[in-house]
């Protein structure tokens, strides 16, 4: 059962229960607090560098080369994983898996907790996951696990993540990688 953040174990949407909505352009959400993007990026890097088994979950929007941004982001995700000492487990599609997902190799939005439990993941980054499926998964993760969730969204963000960064394009990802390098050096990791 989750213990992170003011919403705790709640499976309920924070938009309704806590009246927390996505941040405006240029801002980010750290739990229920509006902060500058840099502040959120530092906290995200810190969580990934200090919690057990940090993992990046890239979705179809970066796994498939459907536009130029996707190609750039895919390379950036690999670089980010190296900087953060993180694993990459893909969410390559959204179809529920029957009879059971293989949690070693993939994560699925319909039962994301299985992958997180199996790999004992305590911090994760969602990137390139279509917004609806990210939102469905983030609520379940908060309800069922104690994993610290970070959403890097190219659109408006995901208030159900513990840190949400919006409008994340290749330029912003470069910025995050640089901040992650600084935090890593500060932590001596």
């Amino acid at each position: 059962m989750a213990k992170l953040g003011p919403s705790g174990f709640s499976p309920y949407p924070v938009a309704i229960i806590d009246k927390v909505l996505n941040p405006p352009p240029g801002k980010a959400l750290l739990f229920d607090e509006l902060v500058d993007e840099e502040v959120a990026m530092r906290e995200a890097a810190k969580a990934m560098l200090t919690r057990e088994n940090p993992t990046i979950f890239p979705g179809p929007q970066v796994l498939y080369a459907w536009n130029e941004d996707a190609k750039k982001k895919a390379k950036q995700v690999k670089e980010l994983a190296q900087v953060l000492n993180a694993k990459i487990i893909p969410m390559y599609d959204y179809r529920p898996k029957y009879p059971k997902i293989n949690p070693e190799v993939e994560i699925n939005p319909n039962h994301p907790n299985l992958t997180i439990w199996h790999n004992n993941i305590k911090a994760c980054i969602f990137i390139g996951v279509h917004c609806h499926y990210a939102n469905v998964a983030l609520k379940i993760i908060r309800a069922e696990t104690d994993c610290f969730t970070i959403a890097m969204c190219s659109l408006e963000g995901h208030e159900d993540a513990m840190i949400t960064l919006r409008d994340q394009h290749p330029e912003e990802l470069d910025k995050f990688i640089e901040i992650a390098k600084q935090v890593k050096a500060e932590l001596g990791k």
Partner: protein, 398 residues
């Protein structure tokens, strides 16, 4: 269904110049016309870069669907066809929207009920369809006359529900509806309600911008679910029903999914506030202790009652008109009734669904007495004098 971004598109497929939603709604010069509510629907759709519309042209409801068909003939609507029934229409509308088309349809009364299973399905599949609902009686018993009982049924389908008072509201709400519903973080259907016959069939003055400008086209690449495109990744993923496919956590998935749809409606709140210029509108003395809370034609008639109460009885009153029901403007409502001693909720139905809503949201926030009256239904009108009489009776008794 263009893959171009808004900034790259200069004209839409009909040759209309693309302008920003803010320009179209707030800044473009407007000219006065005299038209029915149904004709206002046509004029809004004409300026909305609509890709598809499906109709079930049963009579008598309104000529709105027929008029959208005329727009197809004129080249303003990409695809237009007739469904086999209201259920068929709402299913086909879903198909168009899942394929990435900006889609609109209309219905009313028993047709709404026949199609009902589709409305929560629309919301669950996160399609930004627009339904113009010209409310009229349902089978209780069958009526074709004005009555908004069906709106009470729709409240918890997961769709946004906006309520237009008149043809002007309807015109503006249809355009704003697409803009808000298609925001990536929102992306749920919008039902724009108007009272059938009172608004759909009567003419009134309405201010509209020129018809050579239009909304930017819908960009389905920003949808929160991939559109169904079997050729191009990442869109080629079908939407399997998760409940049948996994014994693991399917209940949690379903719960999270439904909560997510409701969260999406919450995310619409700031956008709706902007494009509708607030979620409520107040009319009358802001400090009045007698307050009418209403939507649609009931709000119009309550405004007339406010005038009569002041002019003939020397009693101050005000109207709080609700423009949206989902999201429900509870903060605005609570602030607007802070001085209220009596809150009247006039409604065009027998069950008082609006009174239930008001009572729920004001519980613990207002000491005012909430009175679910007057109520008319089945095609009755609600003369302002009837509202005044209700107030005078109550005030005298207390």
């Amino acid at each position: 269904m263009s893959n171009l971004t808004t900034s790259e598109v200069k004209v839409n497929k009909s040759g209309q110049r693309i302008v920003s939603p803010d320009y179209l709604l707030f800044e473009a010069p407007r000219e006065k016309f005299f038209m029915t509510g149904s004709e206002a629907v046509k004029e809004a759709v004409k300026r909305a870069s609509v890709d598809a519309s499906v109709s079930y042209p049963i009579t008598p409801q309104s000529e709105a669907a027929h008029l959208i068909g005329e727009l197809w003939v004129e080249g303003y609507v990409g695809v237009y066809f007739r469904g086999e029934s209201e259920f068929g229409v709402m299913s086909e509308v879903a198909g168009c929207a899942m394929a990435g088309a900006r889609t609109i349809t209309t219905t009313s009364g028993p047709g709404t009920l026949r199609a009902f299973e589709n409305f929560p399905m629309w919301a669950g599949t996160r399609i930004p369809v627009q339904l113009v609902l010209m409310a009229r009686g349902v089978n209780s018993p069958l009526s074709i006359q004005p009555d908004n009982l069906e709106v009470g049924f729709l409240l918890d389908t997961g769709c946004m529900i906006w309520y237009a008072e008149n043809a002007q509201d309807l015109f503006d709400m249809i355009l704003a509806g697409f803009v808000v519903a298609e925001k990536p973080a929102v992306h749920v259907p919008v039902i724009t309600v108007v009272d059938g016959f009172f608004v759909s069939h009567t003419r009134e003055a309405i201010m509209i911008p020129p018809d050579d400008i239009a909304l930017p086209p819908y960009d389905p690449t920003k949808a929160p679910m991939p559109v169904i495109d079997l050729e191009v990744p990442p869109g080629r993923f079908l939407r399997d029903p998760f409940v049948m496919k996994s014994n693991y956590i399917s209940y949690a998935t379903h719960a999270s999914w439904q909560f997510e749809v409701r969260a999406a409606i919450e995310r619409s709140r700031p956008y709706a506030k902007h494009y509708l210029r607030g979620l409520i509108e107040e009319f009358g003395n802001p400090e009045a202790e007698i307050v009418f809370v209403a939507a649609g034609t009931a709000a119009s008639q309550a405004k007339e009652a406010v005038r009569l109460l002041k002019d003939e009885e020397g009693i101050e009153a005000k109207v709080v008109k609700l423009k949206t029901l989902r999201p429900f403007p509870y903060e605005e409502l609570r602030a607007s009734v802070k001085n209220a001693k009596y809150i009247f909720v006039p409604e065009f139905n027998v069950v008082g669904w609006m009174e239930r809503e008001i009572t729920k949201w004001l519980y613990g926030y207002s000491n005012a007495t909430i009175i679910g009256a007057p109520r008319v239904a089945g095609g009755m009108t609600m003369p302002a004098e009837v509202i005044v009489k209700e107030v005078l009776n109550y005030v005298k008794e207390s």
